[in-house]
Symmetry: C2
Subunit: 161 residues, 2 copies
């Protein structure tokens, strides 16, 4: 049987897989996993428009997901809230596929930019390198944001039409 | 009778005064007023800990308020969400009193910094000057954030112990 990676919408049945995926990803703290699960629950509420999700699936297994939404009070800035890839699916460009899917959705909505927040702490160097490789630039760095020695780094990509 | 300006906690009966105050302030858009009222409603929910409020009152009239809270996923960064002063109360240092009250509360909670977001559009120059006078520094500027020609400016103040 030919394996086939597909991107599809979020389903209620994904909740346990996505929670496990957040834990297995290895870089998220317990508090971050809890917020991630809250956002998944918010995304499953019928009629909500704050959070958009895309899920990467292969042979019935969920290998990653991304979540994005329009920034509060903005008419064209979007936030990339979460991108998580199962360790078993790493090195195959799944993260890149997910981010590119979000970018396309933002462009279709005539969004001007997509922002993503990350951390300066150990374990997040790969995240920073990942976004730089996708042409995101560091727009801001908030010293001692998460903890006294963990800065918040905001990366972003601007789209032109 | 001697007029006496006092700072006190938020009460459910303040809701209409605060909504009027947000409208009368003149610089908030309708969307911003709506978010402001949502946050007031959240602040009035029993047991919530996301939003702290302080209200400035004189002779039974509400002249201003401020709202602040701990930043998500942070152990010591706080956000100053709203500061609004009634036009009739301007020029008396009420805004400064409100901000200083928030700063004291953040320091008491051993917070490291207090951040505030503002806009680059016309009508907000006074806001920027206000925070600079209170020793806030511009930490970041997100080009075209709110609209194509309206940047988000993040100011902040770091506390030492």
């Amino acid at each position: 049987m030919l394996s086939m990676l597909t991107l599809r919408a979020l389903r209620a049945a994904d909740r346990p897989s996505l929670e496990r995926l957040l834990r297995d990803a290895g870089n998220f703290s317990e508090a971050e996993v809890a917020v991630g699960v809250e956002v998944i629950d918010a995304g499953l509420r019928p009629g909500q428009e704050d959070y958009n999700f895309v899920v990467a699936e292969e042979d019935g297994a969920v290998l990653g997901y991304a979540c994005w939404g329009k920034a509060n009070l903005s008419d064209g800035t979007w936030d990339l809230y979460w991108v998580a890839v199962d360790p078993r699916g790493r090195g195959r460009g799944i993260g890149r596929m997910l981010v590119e899917h979000c970018e396309e959705a933002v462009r279709e909505a005539r969004g001007r930019s997509l922002l993503v927040e990350t951390s300066s702490r150990a374990g997040y160097e790969g995240t920073l390198a990942f976004y730089r490789a996708l042409n995101y630039e560091v727009l801001a760095r908030f010293r001692g944001y998460y903890t006294a020695d963990d800065d918040k780094i905001v990366l972003g990509k601007y789209f032109s039409f």
